[in-house]
């Protein structure tokens, strides 16, 4: 097991573990996040370790608030760290854009974990552009070992420029594992002090205009640092040059021969002189980067401004793809230009028809019960299922098919109001407890305010499940020496004026169906709170009762209602008979609840 507070040694660390170690070595004082893959493990580790390391850490309500609390810490002289997945930075972009105008007095890193190939995301946006848009220095590590070391280097840049620094990673850095040499641990400080500076920290128009010019000057200073930074270096010799950054560097380094590589770790502002010097005299240059031509377009611009006539190959020339993450074989696209290692021919894909194995809702997942109840109550009505970001997104698959529209956190709830107004269909918005606090509350307020007749189903499984079971405002906090009370969703919803509020246990599918029928009849905003803890979380906490469901074959009429409506992975069809799988069944009783013959019993 890895020990991120060890004094010394070397360990095989996940990129996210290496980043946490980097924080401890840099003596970071303060961290905040809203969980999102591929950055989630950082939060789970800090939840366990931050207080022991002498650092403050919190799960904030959403990324915007996480950005703001860390901004305040860094404006009080502390070293702060805010981290999130790429789409989370959209939520946090508002404070970030003006934060750069004020800058920070301590040090601040903003980690954006991008997800090329959208392994666990709704898009594959390239957040490097935020560094250009927001005028922020940016660093990009290539490996776990580099990620650890780059934390301290990035705090150095932040302190030298008094600006927050964008720390941009991708899935294959966050979820790569490599050997990391541990350095000495830093010394965090518990408190800073905010020194009033009205022009700098109060961005009224008159001050914003001043700060804008100051920021442009600081970015010039950042460019000078980038020119000299050891994070940007030339590796190897050859008359063909490759310019690359991030994980792409590892593919080039290992699988391309006979080239000179300009490896960029400090990628905004780019070291323009260094790039011009590198390109000048080369036969040609290839830019190897995932997603958008962020470096490539700037290299072309730098060449144009310096009257350098060297061909630049990459995405704009069709040699490398824009979409999806790279792998070593992607380099075959440039094999006419550089010497790429020859790869073996793959075994052909098998012709045997293999069953599909998509991720599914777990055995005993309470979302199954609420979805089954909703489908039953809705019947043939014309509804639009607005869904959101979380495990319950998996309701898109049969037999539920309870996701017609998903764009972003809280987006289903907001869109439901639009569907209510723009169509004669009934919008039903599913949203998780954590997502409700994140971005669902304003959407619900909007529905009340504008009289959008929506049904909101809050799938309250008492945790932030999909990202690895983090606490949220609905669970209260119990770590790092801080204890807070859970915020009661029902009281909140009633408090803002929702008239139809039903709290149901989704394991009682019949009762949940009645609640949904009532909501469909209600003339106005209706909220159903489907409240039942995530069984995986209970298992982790050793709080899951030992129960299981058993089918009495003498009563079972083989109507398969249980399979068709709950479709729990613990229900198994052997021949014509339905049985339960004792290794998976948790005895929740949802299948028993929908059985028309009472043929399924829950045994303790």
């Amino acid at each position: 097991m890895s020990d991120l507070l060890a004094k010394e040694g070397k360990q095989l660390l996940l990129g996210n573990e290496a980043i946490v170690r980097g924080l401890f070595e840099a003596g970071a004082d303060f961290a905040s996040t809203y969980p999102g893959t591929p950055s989630s493990e950082i939060g789970n580790l800090l939840e366990k370790l931050a207080s022991e390391a002498g650092m403050y850490f919190e799960f904030s309500t959403n990324e915007k608030v996480a950005m703001e609390v860390s901004a305040a810490a860094a404006s009080s002289g502390l070293k702060s760290f805010v981290f999130m997945k790429h789409v989370g930075l959209n939520v946090a972009a508002d404070p970030m854009m003006t934060l750069a105008y004020s800058g920070v007095t301590g040090g601040m890193l903003i980690l954006s974990a991008d997800d090329p190939s959208a392994h666990s995301s709704q898009n594959e946006q390239d957040n490097r552009y935020y560094s250009l848009l927001g005028l922020l220095p940016m660093v990009e590590p290539s490996t776990p070992a580099e990620a650890k070391d780059m934390v301290s280097a990035a705090y150095g840049i932040s302190q030298a420029t008094t600006l927050p620094v964008l720390f941009r990673t991708t899935t294959r850095v966050n979820h790569a594992r490599g050997v990391v040499d541990l350095g000495p641990l830093g010394q965090p400080r518990p408190k800073g002090h905010f020194e009033r500076d009205v022009v700098r920290f109060v961005n009224i128009p008159a001050h914003a205009r001043v700060n804008r010019k100051r920021l442009l000057g600081l970015m010039e200073k950042a460019r000078e640092i980038s020119e000299e930074s050891p994070l940007n270096f030339v590796d190897g010799e050859g008359d063909v040059g490759i310019i690359t950054s991030g994980v792409s560097y590892t593919y080039v380094k290992e699988f391309v021969r006979g080239v000179s590589i300009l490896k960029l770790g400090f990628t905004n502002p780019l070291p323009e002189r260094k790039i011009a010097e590198f390109v000048r005299g080369k036969r040609c240059v290839v830019v190897v980067e995932e997603l958008e031509p962020f470096l490539e377009d700037q290299v072309l611009r730098i060449c144009a401004q310096n009257s350098i006539q060297v061909p630049v190959y990459g995405k704009r020339t069709g040699h490398l793809p824009y979409a999806w993450e790279f792998n070593p074989r992607t380099l075959e696209g440039i094999s006419e230009i550089v010497q790429v290692q020859e790869f073996r021919e793959s075994m052909p894909a098998s012709q045997v028809k293999l069953p599909s194995r998509p991720p599914t809702l777990c055995a005993g997942c309470p979302h199954r019960g609420m979805y089954a109840a909703t489908k039953k109550a809705v019947g043939s009505r014309d509804v639009v299922y607005c869904s959101d970001i979380g495990c319950y997104t998996l309701g898109v698959a049969p037999p539920f098919q309870t996701a017609d529209f998903i764009i972003c956190m809280g987006g289903g709830a907001g869109a439901a109001g639009g569907f209510a107004q723009a169509t004669d269909q009934t919008p039903i918005a599913f949203i998780g407890d954590s997502t409700f606090f994140h971005a669902g509350v304003p959407a619900l307020v909007n529905a009340l305010f504008n009289d959008h007749k929506i049904i909101m189903v809050i799938l309250d499984n008492r945790t932030t499940a999909m990202t690895g079971h983090q606490p949220n405002p609905g669970t209260g906090r119990e770590f790092g020496g801080v204890q807070t009370e859970p915020i009661d969703i029902e009281r909140l919803v009633r408090g803002i004026g929702v008239k139809y509020v039903e709290e149901v246990d989704p394991y009682d599918v019949k009762a949940a169906t009645q609640a949904m029928k009532g909501a469909l009849e209600h003339d106005g905003v209706a909220v159903i709170i489907s409240k039942c803890p995530c069984p995986l979380e209970l298992k982790k906490r050793r709080m899951l009762e030992a129960k299981r469901c058993e089918v009495d074959q003498s009563k079972c009429i083989q109507c398969y209602s249980c399979l068709r409506t709950i479709a729990c992975p613990a229900l198994i069809k052997r021949g014509e008979a339905v049985e339960t799988d004792p290794t998976q069944c948790i005895g929740c009783g949802m299948c028993a609840n929908v059985c028309p013959k009472g043929a399924i019993e829950v045994r303790r």
Binding site: M1, K10, L12, L14, T37, P38, S40, E41, H119, S120, T143, R172, H175, A176, R177, G178, V179, V247, T250, Y251, K253, E254, F255, N327, P328, R329, F343, R344, E345, S346, M347, P348, A349, S350, Q351, V352, K353, L354, P355, S356, R357, P358, P359, T360, L361, C362, C391, L394, M466, T467, Y560, L563, A567, P569, L571, I572, K573, D581, T583
Partner: protein, 196 residues
């Protein structure tokens, strides 16, 4: 020397633990190690893939399709699904005990015959080694030790560049104290199943 293992299976089978054991054993031998794991969405009963690479000059966390030295298949259909990760010289180790996907369990899809799955490998690759890792683990004491059986089996694969002792030491350092005996027993059973 460079060696790439592609570990394939189903969320919950212990693929990540196996990759940690192999990676740590390689690190302790002084090799460079680069690995890649899939977390998040894939864990909800879906297919999982973990890449373990080690050697003198390794930095990339991914390997090209076709270039695996060893495919370590925790589950038969996942092994067959991932054959394109290797070439005809790749060693293929396949656990024959299936994990049924939910659509198969519910009777909506069919799971192929195990003979058909074995045939799918041997048709394109002469190096298949099979074992009943889950059954062996049950004999050792508990089904969850199937990953230890698989690691033991890897130690006995032809020309595997890490020593049996290295893998056993790494395994011991990765499992909780109270499951130590179980895992060591399972490891030895996996080793013997392939060796003999």
């Amino acid at each position: 020397m460079k060696y790439t293992i592609q570990i394939v299976g189903v969320g919950g089978q212990g693929v990540l633990l196996a990759s940690m054991v192999l990676g740590n054993a390689a690190m302790n031998r002084g090799y460079r190690v680069a690995m890649s794991e899939v977390h998040g969405m894939a864990q909800r009963g879906g297919s999982v893939l973990s890449t373990v690479r080690f050697g003198d000059d390794v930095i990339s966390p991914l390997e090209a399709d076709g270039s695996a030295d060893l495919i370590m298949g925790f589950e038969p259909t996942e092994t067959v699904r991932n054959l394109p990760l290797g070439n005809r010289d790749t060693l293929v180790l396949m656990n024959l005990d299936p994990v049924y996907p939910s659509m198969v369990a519910a009777g909506f899809e069919k799971y192929p015959d195990i003979e058909e799955l074995i045939g799918a490998v041997t048709k394109v690759n002469p190096n298949l080694v099979t074992l009943d890792a889950t059954k062996l683990a049950i004999d050792a004491g508990k089904a969850v030790a199937a990953n230890a059986v698989m690691i033991g089996a890897v130690a006995a694969m032809k020309d595997f560049p890490l020593l049996k002792e290295d893998l056993l030491e790494a395994l011991k350092s990765q499992v909780p104290e109270k499951f130590l005996d179980l895992n060591v027993r399972a490891f030895e059973m996996g080793y013997n199943a392939v060796k003999n």
